[in-house]
Amino acid sequence: MSTVNPGSRARKQIHLGVHFPGVNNTTVWSDPRSASQIDFSSFEHLARRAEEARLDFFFLAEGLRLREHKGRIHDLDVVGRPDTLPVLAAVAAVTDRIGLAGTINTTFNEPYELARQFATLDILSGGRAAWNLVTSSDAFTGENFRRGGYLPHAERYERAAEVVEVARKLWDSWGDDAVLADRRTGDFLRPDAVRPVDHRGKHAQVSGLFTTPRGPQGHPVLFQAGDSTDGRDFAAATADVVFSAHSTFEAGRTFYDDVKGRLAAHGRARDALKILPATTVVLGDDLQDAQAKAWEIRLQQVPGRTAIAFLEQLWGRDLEEYDPEGPLPDVEPDVDNVSITRGRVRHAADPRAVAAAWRAEAEANDWSIRRLVIEKTARGGFVGTAQQVADDIDRHVQEDASDGFILVPHLTPGGLDEVFDRVVPLLQERGSFRAEYAGTTLREHLGLAAPGRGDDPETADLTSATLVG
């Protein structure tokens, strides 16, 4: 209970998730403290520590094709990870309360299979499942799938919306408390507890009976992580949580207003959707100490070869002859070579203009290639003493730059231990973050309402009230 702030009861509650370190250069693998990104012990460590700190959820990203650079598998960052949902099912065995959020692509999976996997995870975790819907739809990734089935960019959210629609129909097709197990009559299920689904759409044709009981949450919590206008509209229509990249205060406020402003058009309340940017935290004894540490981490994240590879993405050509500690290349970008890096989005519409601007900025500041890349790939993040970081996180939430954060460690698996030990207690003390879990499901942690059964008259009556009554 807060004794610090008299207005604590009215404080917005912060929601915090942890992101298992990803396969990109945020994750520092060269540090001696960096452990395996594959061994289950790493997943267990982060999930258990986050649960001890009473965080909302544990989050896994996904990518279905190894990234390539200059026609070869990119070898400078962490490469390789296990399959999202089996890892979460295993983490469910070593935790009790923390939510389990998995990123799963909607283009390269079929709705019937996804619906039963998420229903299963929800059942096996006692109501802790969440699905981060991502829509990568490129032909490069499609080469790993028999169905091919990659989509024109414009259709990626159309298919995502239909996949979710079908999944919801399947989850809704089982009544609450469907298992009767009446040994005397031999009725295993309540009569009529399962209704057939019949969906015929542009991207999916699914009909028949669903195999899997409805999970404790009804539907898993739905996350969305896309930034385009289509992505934001999809989130406003469909998602419970947006995983955003806008972690700085001003950009966060703009994004927050934009997405929350889209909710009314879908008949949804402003707090029906939580906006959680990814962020990092670096702690120090004082601000200077923290900034020095943050700089050391940035240097680890951007070694010389990584800086060159980053520039090559924009330049569209081989720049290995250039010294990362020297000035920017004087050659012009090859604007036609747009696929030098695959499995990752290229950033600039006009590479020559960007290259010119970067050259000018580097010259003006006397920056090397490496220094420029460090500056250009900075993502903000919280740097300071535990008190400063706690204040800052709270300010972002209380002043509507976000509803909380997804914390991304740079070390596997212990990179957030300090944050759990030193920052979270300060947030709890001021009454902005739970000291104990109030509920058992992720929906309850996030303060989200139970899902309705939509407007479908076929299944609207499958609730416990009507079945029991």
């Binding site: 693998w29 060269s30 594959i38 289950f40 990518g63 279905l64 190894l66 598998i73 070898d75 400078l76 962490v78 490469v79 390789g80 990870r81 296990p82 399959d83 949902l85 089996p86 890892v87 099912a89 295993a90 469910a92 065995a93 070593v94 390269f108 999976n109 079929e110 019937y112 299979e113 039963r116 996997q117 299963t120 995870l121 059942i123 096996l124 006692g126 080469e143 790993n144 799938f145 028999r146 469907a178 298992v179 197990a181 040994r183 031999g186 009725d187 295993f188 299920l189 399962v194 999916a204 699914v206 009909s207 028949g208 009976l209 195999t211 899997t212 009981p213 070694p303 070869r305 990584t306």
Partner: protein, 395 residues
């Protein structure tokens, strides 16, 4: 009788015993028996209790059936399934020794997804995953996916064959030592040790490599039920463990010989294939009480239990005797036990049958290692893509 494995002269050879943990037991009315915990059928706690029991009995592996069709209503059968791969994964951190073998369909799934799911269960269980390959010929399964119509057995098995090829190649698409974390050159992996599988088959093309590094067993054991001639041929080509149906020792010996011959014809060493006879189990203190248990289930069900393989209705001692007789006679490498009722027969197998087999010195007294392949007496296979070291690029 004790005889050594060809590749390990210290470990005594053991009969192999798998157990089917599907639903409440193999008999459709099992859930209606007293003590069946039928309300907890989908409860992770119940599944964990079952695996813990099986592991106490040092059994080789547990299997979980799965499929994309809801079991038909009627005759009081259980309806509803959890995704078997996620069940296996949920059980992995809380078990040790025992193999975890979920069923995954090949007709309506993506080999790329299947490959990383099983590899991941192998990672989280430190080497105890297997894959029971299945295929579907039904209209309901096809309608659940809506991408193609129902297929005949031969066609579905041919597709499964290609899927197993792709899955097993993806399991090898990372060499064991591909992750180098070489700070001096800044390279996390040696990309010479990652391989495109470049599968361009009759039915599909898959590029690779997997996103998941090679798992502790390298190749988790593949389990196939030889339920048709086509399936038997698939099993002989690709399975490490083959489940067969047989009602007497002679029939079992004949089907085992057929599989071993077909495996040899496919260029495999038949001693690397374990043939397990599906065995339905109803155990009682004496024959009459076992029969009474079955009568009760049949009364509840309204019809005679129609099994397709060896069905033991009797004492633990008689079952142990059958196991001993069949294995020593060369009719089987082991048995896949299908308890009529998990709540009763599993305990009897573990607490009564296993000690008898141990006394007869035909069943292990401890797990020989930590992985399922070790338990099955199978070597960890070399990576098909690994080559002798070649001059590497300097960069």
């Amino acid at each position: 009788m004790v005889f050594p494995y060809p590749d390990d002269h210290t470990a005594p050879r053991s009969v192999h015993l798998g157990i089917d943990l599907t639903d409440g037991g193999a008999h459709p009315a099992a859930w209606r028996a007293v003590g069946s915990q039928s309300q907890r059928l989908f409860d992770a706690g119940r599944l964990l209790e079952l695996v813990t029991t099986a592991q106490r009995g040092l059994l080789d592996l547990v299997t979980f059936d799965d499929g994309f069709a809801l079991q038909p209503r009627g005759r009081g059968a259980v309806q509803g399934r959890l995704d078997a791969a996620l069940v296996a994964s949920r059980l992995a951190p809380r078990s040790a020794g025992i193999g975890l073998v979920p069923t995954i369909d090949t007709t309506h799934t993506e080999p790329f997804h299947v490959s990383k799911a099983i590899a991941t269960i192998d990672h989280v269980s430190a080497g105890r995953a297997g894959w029971q390959v299945s295929w579907s010929t039904g209209a309901p399964e096809a309608a659940a996916f809506g991408r193609k119509g129902p297929q005949g057995e031969a066609d579905a098995v041919a597709e499964a064959d290609e899927a197993v090829e792709v899955v097993t190649r993806l399991w090898d698409s990372w060499e064991d030592d591909a992750e180098i974390r070489d700070a001096s050159t800044g390279r996390f992996i040696d990309r010479e040790k990652l391989h495109y599988i470049d599968h361009e088959g009759i039915r599909f093309a898959v590029k690779g490599p997997s996103i998941t590094p090679r798992s502790p067993q390298g190749q988790p054991p593949v389990v196939v039920s030889a339920t048709s001639d086509e399936a038997l041929a698939l099993a002989a080509r690709r399975a490490d463990v083959v489940r067969v149906s047989a009602v007497d020792a002679g029939q079992a010996a004949a089907v085992r010989a057929r599989i071993r011959d077909a495996a040899a014809a496919a260029g495999r060493d038949p001693d690397t294939v374990r043939v397990l006879v599906d065995t339905y189990v109803v155990i009682g203190a004496d024959r009459a009480s076992a029969q009474a248990r079955l009568d009760l289930l049949e009364d509840l069900d309204g019809i005679t239990w129609d099994t397709d393989s060896l069905t033991h209705v009797g004492t633990a001692r008689d079952l142990a005797a059958t196991v001993e007789e069949w294995t020593e006679g060369g009719s089987a490498d082991g048995f896949h036990l299908r308890p009529s009722s998990l709540s009763t027969d599993l305990d009897a197998i573990v607490d009564q049958v296993v000690p008898l087999l141990q006394s007869a010195e035909i069943f292990r007294r401890e797990y020989p290692g930590t992985t399922l392949r070790q338990t099955l007496g199978l070597e960890r296979p070399a990576n098909r893509f690994a080559t002798a070291p070649v001059a590497r690029e300097t960069a």
